[in-house]
């Protein structure tokens, strides 16, 4: 074999090796590039709905652990914990077709103390077009609300005792309240979940006659919007805490013995009020 042929063969072999290494490197690099948002097939960006959950007390933003708020019963109060579930967000179109957000099985957990929970990004095939309204379930419906669904915190810590109906708290709002002029503020656990009907209205778990699903649907007022293909739409869902304590049933903290989980009347009344606690607005950014 001539020397020139040997050199050519060597060059060829080197080129094959280089190509193999480059292909391997490319395979290593490309998956990491996909994470940056460039789709593999070069298709357009997904249509995305970003929901921010905002907790207010009338016109004031909720600041935890601050005795800044007053309800319609003239109770001063502060909130130390606010945790709740929103589920089954539905976007309703005027042609009768609905789009249901399926992220996380359609369940979103919100904790006022954990900023990351205040956002819910829905980008799984949100259709473009005009929607007439938005609705959701406050809490979890009967089908979704079963015990040991969530094994990990923080959702796990919303568990609702099996003896009281099981599943999870829809909302845990732990607050302290006092009347004007009182020195001490006393705790109130505003907790909603499955209710119980007790024989003779005597609270005894051995005499539970039935359980009551207290979850409810919320139809957000003035929630029509349009979204175009590839657009990112920002939506702010506001919960006004004071609405829970006013409306059809004025809610005086002094009226209940600091807790509600075994008081179906209190939970029912609160849920009637809660239907009006939510509003929505659309923004051009994440604020």
């Amino acid at each position: 074999m001539k020397t020139s042929n040997v050199i050519m063969n060597l060059k060829s072999a080197v080129n094959v090796c280089i190509t193999a290494v480059l292909v391997t490197a490319g395979l290593l690099i490309v998956p990491s590039c996909r994470k940056s948002g460039v789709t593999e097939d070069g298709s357009s960006k997904p249509t995305t709905l970003i929901i921010r959950f905002e907790n207010m007390v009338d016109t004031l933003p909720l600041i935890l652990d601050s005795m800044l708020y007053e309800n319609s019963s003239d109770d001063l109060y502060k909130v130390s914990d606010l945790q709740y579930f929103i589920s089954d967000i539905n976007l309703h179109r005027n042609d009768g077709l609905n789009y249901k957000a399926l992220n996380n099985d359609g369940i979103h957990y919100i904790d006022a103390r954990t900023p990351s929970t205040l956002y819910w990004t829905i980008n799984a095939s949100v259709p473009s077009g005009t929607f007439d309204s938005i609705s959701f379930t406050f809490g979890l419906n009967a089908e979704k609300n079963y015990s040991n669904r969530f094994l990990n915190p923080p959702e796990r810590d919303m568990n609702w005792p099996d003896i009281l109906g099981g599943g999870y708290h829809y909302i845990k709002m732990n607050l302290s309240w006092k009347k004007t002029g009182m020195v001490r503020a006393y705790p109130f656990n505003f907790h909603l979940g499955i209710g119980q009907i007790y024989k003779g209205n005597v609270i005894n778990t051995d005499s539970i006659l039935n359980y009551v699903q207290n979850f409810f649907y919320v139809n957000l007022p003035a929630s029509a919007f349009s979204i175009s293909q590839g657009q990112t739409k920002f939506m702010v869902v506001t919960m006004n805490l004071n609405k829970w304590f006013s409306g059809e049933n004025e809610f005086d903290f002094a009226k209940y013995p600091n807790m509600m989980m075994q008081n179906q009347t209190a939970m029912h009344n609160a849920c009637l009020n809660g239907r009006d606690a939510f509003t929505v607005r659309f923004t051009s950014g994440g604020k």
């Binding site: 490197a25 003896i163 075994q262």
Partner: protein, 381 residues
Amino acid sequence: MRFHVVLLVLAILLVFTGCNKDSQDATTSKPTPYVISIPKFFPTELNIPPDNPMTVEGVELGRYLFYDGRISGRTEPDSLMSCSTCHVQAHSFVCGIDNPRFPGGHPYGLTGILTPHFMLPMINLVWVNNGYLWNGSLAPGNPLQAKRRLEDICWMAIVAPHEMYGDTNRSTTLIQSINGYPELFEKAFGSRTVTVKNMGRAIAQFVRTLISADSRFDRFLEGKVQLSEKERKGYVLFMTETGGDCFHCHGGEGNPLFTTNLFYNNGMDSIFGDPNDRYGFTGNAMDVGAYVAPTLRNVAFTAPYMHDGRFKTLDEVINFYSSGVVWSSSINPLMHHVSTHGVQLTPSQKSDLKDFILTLTDSSFVTKTAFARPSGFPDEK
């Protein structure tokens, strides 16, 4: 051709920058993965940092170090101190109220200085995600980078005046000199050099294996046994707001760890002065007087109770929650019975509640060989 060479060099760099030191070590030592079996209904998310994966060799080394008094850097019999000096398996890894060395169950270090708090049991720590210690300060939010993880407990214990009061160089030098340890470090971490970092990693791995999931209540949840009538009544009290309302902080069937691992001012005091409460870490006024809710698993073995060991018996604890709760401006709202100083249980209810809590006793945890002192240390084999 030159272009190809440049690309080749770049490609090689790209490939090799993905290989960190740990993975190189792993190649040489090839430790065996240690798989934690997650009990039914337990959380599936484990607190195992990516840079300290569980391995059989790491756990084995960690067990030796946990029990070896020479980790203190000393060799005189009177000066030996290890984790196990205070963390006693028979008491779910607290020292125990009947400990002959630590009267009343309050441990102290080699120089006689008492620990700031009484002890927390070492049970199911692999599921702690909110910070370790009574105030949760051993957490990612700690401004001191070296005090954020379970791995950091090792060096902290070696130097703390109320524990070993040594220095890490002395400890690592001594462990390095002991026959058998360099080989164990090599098997676990790929290097024969003993470092305090790898000591911490090994001990943390061992501690993460300390899992309790074999109580009568666990078997009840699995449908294998029934609770007695008194235990059942106690269980209802535990799980209801109108009863003892224990579950909001201490879990239950929906949280079999029997703790949320969160922090509460549970109404024990109205005047506060402990610089190491939760407030001492967070600066949040609502955290004054707050401490982590300990797990109730094996609580029968972990007296005395509370951060300051003020209650010697379970009966005293139940009495406190029944009628001893006091108001303060930072009392946790979950203590909603404070206006009546507690949940006001009858003597019969207290007895039922205690019976239920005792179903959380896991005797296998306090006798399991894998958690016990090794039959011999590496230089004794």
